[in-house]
Amino acid sequence: MNVNGRPVRVDAGSSILDACRAGGVEIPTICHGPTMTPANACRVCVVEVEGSRALVPSCSRPAEEGMEINTDSDRVQMSRKVILELLGSATELDRSNASILTWLEKAGADTARFGPPEGPKTRHSPRPGHHDTVPIDNAASVHEPVKIEDDLYVRDYSRCILCYRCVDACGIEHQNTFAIAVAGRGFDARISTEFDVALPDSACVYCGNCITVCPTGALTGKVEFDMREEGSWDESAQEVTRTVCSYCGVGCNLDVHTQDGRIVKVDSPHDHDVTLGNLCIKGRFGWTYVQSGRND
């Protein structure tokens, strides 16, 4: 097949995204994660396929022999830019992963072009098919107060772009606990427990497998959140050490993040075949014993 006029060869079963990357062409992705079936929701990865009326999502469309792909046409650039603008107009993106931040800039996205976002408000129970009157002075946003309901998680849904990764990680792809789902519809859709009950009342088992796949910082561990709020979180000063969990005998690999000689976060490599980036509550949060009460 051809990508931007240059021939690329990939194995059967590869996606267009795989093909583009194999051809050295960068494509932005948000909802796509290496350990998950494409959710196909963010649409930022769309490309032009000759013969196809609409643009196609490169993450979930299988590559086919003879395809002519254009990743940089005016249409593609326009869609990519508008999609990023739309996301930025409704959502706080400043704690997003590097790829999102880079592409916002690269696409020339003007996230302010739809007006100043509405301030945070507590959402009421969802009424699918209905919405409040349309504000004239603001752009509707997803901003809502931060949810801090326990000592481990912080859920800051003002940053949520509804990429489904947390839902899929909690659900069918990995953890199979299904504590959260998308509730409501359309712009009012939110990640929610049943009846929006607090996380400790839900089925959540605090594995944190949602946190590790969140691309925008909507879900974080409490330690990281607190450090970010007080301004002491500094990824450039952090080291990551690969090791194995100290609890049961499954042998989950851990990436231990340290800053100033202290552990600040633990996660697991997404490319490790035992964990695929997943851990349980002990592995992800149970490390505090190492540095509590042992310094004397």
Binding site: E149, D151, H174, C245, C248, V274, N278, I281, G286
Partner: protein, 536 residues
Amino acid sequence: MFGAGGGTSSYQEIESTDLIVMWGSNAREAHPIFFHHVLKGLHRGAHMYAVDPRRTSSAQWADVWLGIDVGSDIALANAVAREIIDRGLENRDFIENATTGFDEYAASLDSYTVDRAEEITGVPAAAIRDLAIAYGNADTAQICWTLGITEHHNATDNVLALINLALLTGHVGRYGSGLVPVRGQNNVQGGGDMGALPNKLPGFQDVEDEESRANFEAAWGSQIPPRAGKHISQMHEAMDEGEIRALYIIGENPLQSEAESATMRRRLENLDFLVVQDIFPTATAELADVVLPAAGWGESDGTFTSSERRVQRVRRAIDPPGDAEDDIALLSRVARAMGVDWPTPSPEEAWDEMRMLSPLHRGMSYSRLQELGGIQWPCPDDQHPGELFLHGRLWERPIVGPPAPFHAVEWAAPVDTLTIEYPIRLTTGRRLDSYNTGVQSGRYESPRRIHGVLDLSPEDAASHGLQDGQTVRVTSRRGSIEAPVRTDRSLRPGLAFMAVHFPDDTDVNALTVDAWDPKSGTAEFKATAIRIEAIG
């Protein structure tokens, strides 16, 4: 099993097996990431049978849950075997070519009809038959177990009963079929690999084998006692008899983790000399004459071996606090203090010495472990990729090496019998967010934590007039503790459960029995007879 002390299979195999039998394992909570692989198998279409006294969160995923009485596993396994043979579902070719002792085994099953098994286990005969048919017919099948099988006075027989099922049907030695004991601690497999067993040298080489011993003696430049040492329960006996007078404990909290804690306290207090090397001042350390502060996880380098025999590197991420040093440094210093000229080797130097002596590990250099993300033993040379599963040799024709023996085993009831005075069966286990005696897991704030409680069926709570949260006195033949009650639908009337994580609040091992398996030395933590009385 069959000469190698490890599970036969890799986690990835359970994703493509046809039948999963979770027998005495609540992996959903105790081994959550292993259970992820199980779930992948289920979503792919595998069926699952769960054998467990409680309807645990693991059992809730099963197509069929068999709620057996605690300690009746052998009766169930033997009845399944008999049913398989009666229906002609055994693998004749495998039995004839790769096993010995089938006839005696088959004869020993004579009395284990499904009806008798129903009487012993409490599980309806129809469900036992279903399990037999499913296991007998499956193309590939895995039996997974943990402490529900091994914390019994007849632990070894329990395991043999399961191995017999695999031999009967040929569900071992092929990709997707196997016997999977999931290990409870990060490096309990590695400890065994390294010879931290009374009868083994590193690499499961027999200490009573001249040739093996000679290799080690040559490398180490010292004499190795030519006989097996004592396993943990024998050590307890030796302490009781005054034969053992001093103890050096590294990273264990036996005062709280061993059965009959009152007895254990007496044993430790009666020692002439107790050294505890730990990262915390544990309850056991408080009895010690000398406490050596050790570096903990995250503060030292080395390897762990996982339940799929995978050796993986562990690394130091932060400095140990204060004067704490890692175990190698402490052991070397103790040796030097005792007048031996030991240098302090780096973990890699110690590892390299070991792998020259252990053929199972020989090809596992640190650089290869790093490059491959871990290697599954056996890995005899530095070109070898490691083995996904063991005992493929049993499918060679003729087989390579000795055939696998059947072992006829008889069911024996738990030692601590139920009587009118002690009418409730108490069993023990782990909860998702906690670990062992809570030394580590007690130091983070879990929103899911259930502190020390006695779990009862709603019926037993009601018949004693108890509400959730009300404190009861729990009494066994050995001791008595107080605990708040929590009702739990996963328990049937007559069955109670306590987690092992909160010895400071509810010391379940004040109740448990120190009856132990003569072969493995494991105590019968899983079967205690108790009575309960409301307080106040």
